[in-house]
Amino acid sequence: MSGASLRKTPYALTGPGVLFFAALLGAPIVMTFLLSLHSYDFTLGIQSDWSLGNYADVLTDSYFHKIFGRTFGLGLLVTVCCILIGVPEAYVLSRLSSRWRSIFLLIVLGPLLIAVVVRTLGWALLFGSTGILSMTAQALGFADAPVSLMFTFTGMTIALVHVLVPFMVIAVWASLQKIDPQSEDAGLSLGASKFTVLRRITLPQAMPGILSGSIIVFALTTSAFATPAIIGGRRMKVVATAAYDEYLGTLNWPLGAAIAVLLLLANVVIIVSFNKFIERRYAKVFE
């Protein structure tokens, strides 16, 4: 192989993928951005003018404030819940014997491969007023009448935690894997209590995993569609379901495009800045 052809090789190998992505990912995203700059008339359709009117509408309308606020709050709440239950579970998994661990990893991670519609349907069945949770609450005397978590914020939160907590478990588990067990033994033999070892040795080393798990969970919650659409319904709209309604309900594509662009920007900004933060922070710790 000559030097020139060797230099061209990587471009020849990545070329098909890059061209395909440029045509079928780059172009549609750019077009959506351009569409968001057009105005929409309910009788005449999409206009050919250019303005930031759609963004002004979204950013000033209290209806959208509520939806964006609810989505952001949901993202925070789901992330916190995932930390509270996912981190201890990852710790338990890392302490199990290897045979039990491989079984439970399968149980905890497996649901990620099962369609979100199916997992959400399970919660819809549990939440309904004839569902098992309602009956249990009545049988135990927590409720007098049938209760339903369908179309509630609480119901949406529980279902989303279920859908996304495996991402937290796997991220934390991956960073617990890297811990040298001798550092914990050293702490114990030097007289630290188990709790101190957990707090001062294990937890700080699991932190990169907790942070990257949090960012994944937060990003996926704020852009989730299926679970909020089925459990939240029309009463509990979030950004994704609101954009869906603009596109396929009222057919105001430019406004829907503006919502989609804002959602994309928020996602990219949050993910990129968070990754930068983690890199900076942990570059210092491990120097």
Partner: protein, 264 residues
């Protein structure tokens, strides 16, 4: 290794129940002998599984999703493997940018991809076509295929390939006989993960699929928003069983933990 206390084990048991509860619920309801949603307390029945056979809409959607998954996972792997080899084994200007570009769909909400494809396809006359839907799925799943191929290609020794080239094998023979077998677990794992991701995808497909290209999750979503009945539970049960089988295969030859580490 230190033992776990009883508190930790109780927590673990509750967590596992939480994870399995909705799936068990779906499966239990699908075996009801009643005509409405209920747990099979009086007796088990397969009537709702037979009912699937009377619903061609679900059967057609199942085959559409299967066909779509096969086509798009295969094409995604064909795009991803050469790119992974270049990124893992060559240093070249623009390498990081190209890698970030090919992985970027992981950062884009599926809803945004969906609306972008909806508008793009309707403006170029591909609206509602199978080709358009497949192309959208390829964009969505290529990052998964690429990540797993990258993981196997990174750190691969080039000695065997150089030896074969020196002995007169052509580049394609070297790839087929040496490189591909070495990275095969990653390629096959990537293909399977891509297939499952494509098969399960809802949010993007809901915008791109037309009545003639309705995928199973889209069909199920529209059914659930109208009515939740034992039929949708039995369809879901079939899907759960199928996914579990694929998952066990994937775990057996690649490792489920490796598949998901770094996913996001």
């Amino acid at each position: 290794m230190r033992k776990l206390g009883p508190g930790a084990l109780i927590f673990h048991a509750v967590f596992v129940v939480f994870i399995l509860a909705p799936l068990v619920m779906v499966m239990a309801v699908s075996f009801t002998d009643k005509g409405y949603l209920s747990l099979p307390t009086d007796g088990l029945s397969l009537r709702w599984f037979y009912a699937i056979l009377d619903n061609p809409a679900f059967i057609d959607a199942f085959w559409m999703s299967t066909w779509l998954g096969l086509v798009s996972a295969t094409l995604a792997v064909i795009l991803a493997v050469p790119a992974a080899l270049a990124i893992a084994r060559h240093k070249f200007p623009g390498r990081d940018v190209i890698a970030a570009f090919l992985l970027s769909p992981l950062m884009i909400p599926h809803l945004v991809l969906g609306v972008a494809f909806l508008q793009f396809y309707s403006s170029i006359g591909l609206g509602g076509s199978f080709a358009g839907l497949a192309a959208a799925h390829i964009i969505l799943i290529t990052p998964y295929a690429l990540r797993l191929a990258l993981a196997s290609a990174t750190g691969l020794s080039v000695d065997a390939e150089h030896a074969a080239l020196t002995l007169g094998a052509n580049k394609f023979t070297v790839f087929r006989k040496i490189t591909l077998p070495l990275i095969l677990p990653g390629v096959a794992g990537g293909w399977m993960l891509s297939f499952i991701t494509s098969f399960d995808e809802l949010t993007m497909s809901i915008f791109v699929a037309s009545p003639s290209t309705t995928t199973l999750p889209v069909r199920m979503y529209h059914h659930i928003t109208q009515t939740i009945d034992p039929l949708i539970a039995s369809v879901s049960t079939v899907l759960i069983v199928m996914t579990v089988v694929l998952m066990l295969i994937l775990d057996w030859f690649y490792g489920l933990d490796k598949v998901f580490i770094g996913k996001g």
